[in-house]
């Protein structure tokens, strides 16, 4: 790891101010950033630790309106009883991120701000038609995830919470990379008030995306059988040593089927 200066922010406003130092980066759970710094792939001059800011912690469930504040850990999302009732799919998804030690530290805000193309949360938020709340504005998930490790966040902008309306039905199915255990394909399906949304992580050349083919097939019949014979084009999917684009295209349909079946169960 290169040399770095650590700052512990006491509030969001404090964090914004500290972010102006050198080439500073925000540190939340650190589950992606610290490993990247250890291997010298990331080299911020300063780190602004958000994990001690009380206003960034907690989950609120008011009927179907759900707010998850940015520093809430995967562990806390996975075990929140009200969330498990209102949107069990998201709680379950959080229980599948990384390993238990990662879930204790990693946060929803950190995950989406980093927007790793194999991360789970981006698929969930896109499928749930969530809104990302920052210290400056509110951004629809559709506009938030803009590419590989790219988001709509501007300099000095900090994710403070995520809000969404609990869908009638939803589920997430993940196919893990056998080595890294990140998603090779993760499919989040949600049947909400405005219809079916299906988001895919781990597979797209340009990061998380919605699958039009699958959404169209499910629009009139939210049943796994509706996906029989559906093909997802492979031309914009990733190929790496673990999975070809064709294999990913197949897995998207298979995971989508299983997610729909789970959502209906």
């Amino acid at each position: 790891m290169y040399s770095v200066n650590y700052h512990r922010a006491a509030s969001v406003a404090d964090a914004v101010k500290l972010l102006e130092t050198g080439d500073a980066k925000l540190l939340s759970g650190g589950m992606t950033l610290i490993p990247a710094m250890k291997t010298r792939l990331a080299a911020p001059s300063d780190l602004v630790d958000l994990s001690h800011i009380e206003e960034l912690k907690g989950i609120e469930v008011a009927g179907s309106a759900i707010t998850i504040r940015a520093s809430t850990t995967h562990y806390d999302v996975a075990r929140d009883e009200r969330l498990k009732t209102a949107c069990p799919a998201l709680a379950r998804m959080a229980s599948l991120i990384g390993d238990p030690a990662v879930r204790y530290k990693g946060t929803i805000g950190g995950s989406i701000a980093n927007n790793d193309p194999a991360a789970d949360y981006p698929a969930a938020l896109l499928a749930l038609d969530a809104t990302i709340v920052t210290n400056k504005r509110e951004i629809a998930a559709d506009a938030f995830f803009t590419g590989l490790f790219e988001t709509a966040l501007e300099d000095g902008e900090i994710v403070t919470a995520v809000t969404f309306t609990a869908p009638a039905k939803a589920a997430y199915e993940k196919f893990r990379n056998p080595a890294s255990r990140y998603a090779i394909v993760g499919v989040f399906v949600a049947k909400g008030a405005d219809g079916i949304r299906v988001a895919v992580t781990g597979a797209g050349d340009n990061g998380v995306f919605r699958s039009k083919e699958i959404e169209a097939a499910l629009a009139t019949n939210f049943d796994a059988a509706a996906l029989n014979g559906v093909k997802v084009p492979a031309n914009e999917l990733m190929t790496d040593i673990h999975a070809s684009a064709d294999y990913r295209a197949n897995l998207i349909v298979v995971m989508a089927k299983r997610a729909v079946a789970a959502a209906n169960a």
Partner: protein, 163 residues
């Protein structure tokens, strides 16, 4: 450089370290607690797992300065004096270790796992929850056995306490 103060294995300790110092290196090099190991660079092997504020975390994926103010328990602080912790005892009884390098992290992970599952554990859950701990010697067979046995012992202990 930052001043770091922690409670480690029940003792207040403090020291100065570069901000880039990982917690595992602070424990090993500044405090001489070499029971916590480093087996990879990518936060996957789990040889470095310790408890910070009661939760099992990877001390290779946390800066020492980040942990300042926390309560840390390492493998050296798990036993109650001369009495082994039930998880330590089970690893020995069931031959849950060979070279011993991954063992401290395994035991700290297992202890946390058992604490999180007071209802008890089954083989599938133990195997799934060991995702973040890699062992090259045992094929996990006896680690799984040891954790299941320790879980039983600890739940009996809880039942006795409740009675």
């Amino acid at each position: 450089m930052s001043d770091i103060s922690l409670t480690v294995n029940g003792k207040r300790v403090s020291g100065t370290a570069e901000d880039r110092t990982l917690l595992v290196h602070f424990l090993r090099e500044n405090l001489g607690l070499t029971g916590t190991h480093v087996g990879c660079d990518t936060s996957q092997c789990g040889a470095c797992v310790i408890h910070v504020d009661g939760k099992a975390v990877k001390s290779c994926t946390m800066l020492a300065v980040q942990a300042s103010g926390s309560n840390v328990v390492t493998i050296e602080g798990l036993a109650d004096g001369a009495d082994l912790h039930p998880v330590q005892a089970a690893f020995k009884e069931h031959h849950g270790l060979q070279c011993g390098f991954c063992t401290p992290g395994m035991i700290m992970t297992a202890t946390d796992m058992i604490n999180r599952h007071p209802e008890g554990l089954n083989e599938a859950t133990v195997r799934a929850e060991l995702e973040g701990n890699i062992c090259r010697c045992t094929g996990y067979h006896n680690i799984v056995k040891a954790i299941l046995a320790a879980s039983e012992t600890m739940s009996k202990g809880r039942a006795r306490q409740a009675a």
